[in-house]
């Protein structure tokens, strides 16, 4: 492991009450990589995301992003530094339009003040234009799925799959360099899942994002990952290419249980 990794966790631990959820976890993601985080339910994957984005504070350890320890910073600061996430449970701004959902996320990298907005001073007007363009650009990434009339629809009108797409678009609007996707394929049908696999690839090639993704669908994991990290009970049990991890005894055991005698 290099000293100056793009993004890394060093000995990060977190427990709730007496239950250790993440235990001395060390992992790293290089710039431009797509890394998958897998593991059975309750393995601590989402907790890792919550630790990285500042929703939880790690009990110990460092979370380094571009050489800076971000552990303990408030979530909005971490996002402004360039780490954005989606939520497994979908936390869109339901009563705002699709476009507004994306526009709202531009808050962190815009600067005009309330006074400038009230009086429509030049900077506020220019930023408003830029935010609208940014939102359209990010939504265009999803092709016809989130195009045209959908921009003005309230987010609650969207289907489950489209809500997942909108979550990604919203995260993109914060101008991150590292995207954390929490089960982006959950609730999608096979065709949509396939489309998503391609999309995650495009996030790197066209968008230039580094991606850390939690996913249960092994077809997606196989299709996108440069590297796979498997967690169980908050401990890293395997790391490597998809094939290496998928055939690892401990991973198989974590998912299926120990093989009985005979």
């Amino acid at each position: 492991m290099t000293e100056q990794a793009f993004f890394e966790l060093r000995d990060v631990s977190k427990s709730f009450g007496g239950l250790s959820v993440v235990d001395r976890l060390t992992l790293h993601v290089d710039e431009g990589e797509i890394v998958s985080l897998i593991g059975p339910n309750g393995a601590g994957k989402t907790t890792v995301f919550n630790l990285v984005t500042g929703i939880y504070r790690p009990a110990s350890g460092e979370i380094r992003f571009r050489g800076r320890n971000v552990a303990g910073l408030p979530p909005h600061k971490i996002t402004q530094l360039g780490i954005a996430r989606t939520f497994q449970t979908l936390r869109l701004f339901l009563n705002m339009s699709v476009k507004e959902n994306v526009m709202a996320a531009a808050y962190g990298h815009t600067r005009s003040t309330m006074v400038e907005a009230v009086f429509r001073l030049p900077r506020a007007r220019r930023e408003e234009r830029e935010i609208a363009e940014l939102a359209e650009e990010k939504l265009a990434f999803f092709g016809p799925r989130l195009a045209g009339y959908r921009h003005d629809q309230q987010a609650y009108n969207l289907s489950y799959a489209n809500r997942r797409r909108l979550e990604i678009a919203r995260a993109m609007a914060t101008n991150p360099s590292l995207l954390l996707l929490d089960e982006p394929a959950a609730g999608m049908n096979p065709a949509e899942t396939h489309e998503l696999t391609e999309l995650i690839g495009r996030l790197r090639t066209d968008g230039g994002y580094t991606v850390l993704v939690i996913e249960h669908d092994m077809h997606v994991v196989e299709g996108i990952s440069d590297r796979v990290i498997a967690l169980d009970h908050g401990v890293k049990i395997a790391e490597g290419s998809f094939d290496e991890v998928a055939t690892d005894d401990r991973v198989v055991e974590a998912y299926l249980g120990r093989q009985g005698p005979g």
Binding site: R91, M103, A117, F119, Y156
Partner: protein, 481 residues
């Protein structure tokens, strides 16, 4: 797949895209209001409001202009400030009215005979606005830790503490009670426009109208800015907003400060128009009224606040004790008929009930008179034009205290019964129930205008909020899908 019809199938993209057209076809008054609201751009609405509101003094007399014009505008301003805190940021602030009071008292101290300080408005108003905004910021500090109900309790305490402080504490400053205790502060200077004092009702009205228009425009721009979007986002989901780079705590404080600033501004013009302030002006009923305005108009909607303020203040003044009692009577019967219209389908059933009620009343009246003339000998209270009609229809005995109480109890029993019965019997039992309501009104409520006023006001609110829970111009919010 061709189905033989032009209509797109449910669920496909074309069908979803045509949601607008389907909405167009929505019927009824609510649908019409919604469509008009959708089509008319914000600037046109503002222009219409400005023109109509500015022409008000040209045909209204001074008293009406004060009661209907100036008070409505003051309520609009208060509603706009509260709308920032409650509507945009979704923070339940029950101390809001104290900030209004703080603004009014501060202006009174800076521009009145109380201490002999007479600063011009150009100095005192900005100073008061900034001071109130800072106080609002202070009041908002607990909002970083307290959510929902807990914030409401803390802010409510602040509101009550303000009233007690003004009334009872009244600390002595420069040899004089600071707030004047229960007597308040009198002889407050009128607002002035760079030295020109606004003393007539017309001038004051136009001055406040100009402020209202400026605040409306400013808030419209603000709600379409990054800050406005961030407020709405944090109202929807604070955690997601925080994760999407919005500093939620700072944004909450900003909302508190801006709302407070507007409340302080309103206090300045309010104190100047009244020329005197007492703590009673800033007590709980005012807070409830402002909330009613914001909720009734539709939380988060600027047009809604304006409409809500007009509806609430006009019905308030219409029912004012000094106005003829007939106003309340008209509204009472109107509410009954409207409620029946809304709940009765098909319409012939409504016609049957109305006609039945009239016939039932006439018959009951004849019967009562036949039994004993004293049963119908009571006088109609302030009947005005309707005195004859009412005395022929409603049973009003002379000396009717016990009869009135009996009728009141009978009405409650009848209402309970109606809610229990179904079908034709319900329709039939509505007839005596409505008649009993009229009897109770004419024998009890009409003699207690103050009570009747509040009951009617409450009934009006219940009625409007049942019909449109999202407020007159609000968008229905979807919480869980």
């Amino acid at each position: 797949m061709a189905t033989g019809e032009d209509k797109p199938r449910v669920g496909v993209d074309d069908w979803v895209a045509s949601v607008q057209d389907r909405r167009e076809q929505r019927s009824g008054l609510a649908g019409l209001a919604r469509r008009v609201d959708d089509v008319v751009p914000a600037w046109a609405r503002l222009a219409l409001f400005a023109v109509v509101a500015a022409s008000l003094p040209l045909w209204m007399d001074r008293g009406d202009l004060f009661a209907y014009g100036i008070f409505t505008l003051v309520y609009v301003l208060l509603g706009l400030g509260l709308n920032v805190v409650v509507g945009y940021a979704g923070l339940l602030d029950l101390g809001y009215v104290a900030l209004f009071g703080f603004g009014a008292y501060s202006y009174a101290l800076l521009s009145s005979e109380h201490y002999g300080i007479h600063w011009p408005s150009a100095v005192s108003i900005p100073l008061v606005v900034v001071a109130t905004a800072l106080l609002g910021l202070l009041l908002g500090l607990p909002s970083r830790r307290l959510l929902g109900d807990y914030l409401a309790i803390v802010t409510l305490f602040f509101g009550q503490a303000f009233v007690v402080f003004v009334n009872a504490a009244n600390p002595t400053v420069r040899g004089k009670g600071l707030t004047g205790g229960p007597n308040g502060i009198a002889d407050i200077d009128p607002n002035d426009l760079f030295g020109y004092e606004l003393t007539t009702r017309r001038q004051q009205y136009w001055f406040i109208l100009a402020i209202v228009l400026l605040v409306l425009v400013g808030l419209h721009f603000l709600s379409e800015s990054r800050t406005g979007r961030a407020w709405r986002a944090l109202r929807e989901d604070p955690l997601a907003a925080e994760a999407m780079s919005m500093p939620v705590n700072r944004l909450k404080l900003k909302a508190f400060a801006l709302g407070a600033g507007i409340a302080g501004l309103t206090g300045c013009v309010f104190a100047a128009v009244l020329t005197a302030v007492t703590s009673g002006n800033f007590a709980l009923p005012i807070l409830i009224t402002i909330y009613a305005i914001v909720v009734l108009g539709g939380i988060g909607s600027l047009t809604g606040v304006v409409v809500g303020a007009i509806v609430i203040n006009v019905s308030f003044q219409f029912l004012a004790p000094e106005n003829p009692q007939n106003n309340a009577r008209i509204l009472f019967y109107l509410v009954i008929v409207l409620l029946l219209m809304l709940s009765m389908r098909p319409l012939w059933r409504l016609a049957v009930v109305l006609a039945g009620t009239v016939a039932f009343g006439l018959a009951a009246h004849v019967l009562a008179e036949a039994i004993s003339p004293s049963w119908t000998a009571g006088a109609v209270v302030e009947g005005g034009r309707f005195a004859g009609l009412i005395s022929d229809w409603v049973i009003i005995p002379s000396g009717h205290d016990r009869f009135a109480n009996g009728a009141y109890i009978a009405l409650i029993v009848a209402i309970l019964a109606v809610t229990r019965i179904r079908g034709v019997w319900r329709t039939l039992s509505l007839v005596p129930t409505v008649y009993l309501a009229a009897v109770v009104w004419e024998t009890s409520f009409v003699e207690q205008p103050a009570v009747a006023r509040w009951i009617l006001f409450g009934a009006l609110l219940v009625f409007l909020m049942t019909v449109r829970p999202q407020g007159l111009l609000g968008t229905p919010r979807v919480e869980i899908v």
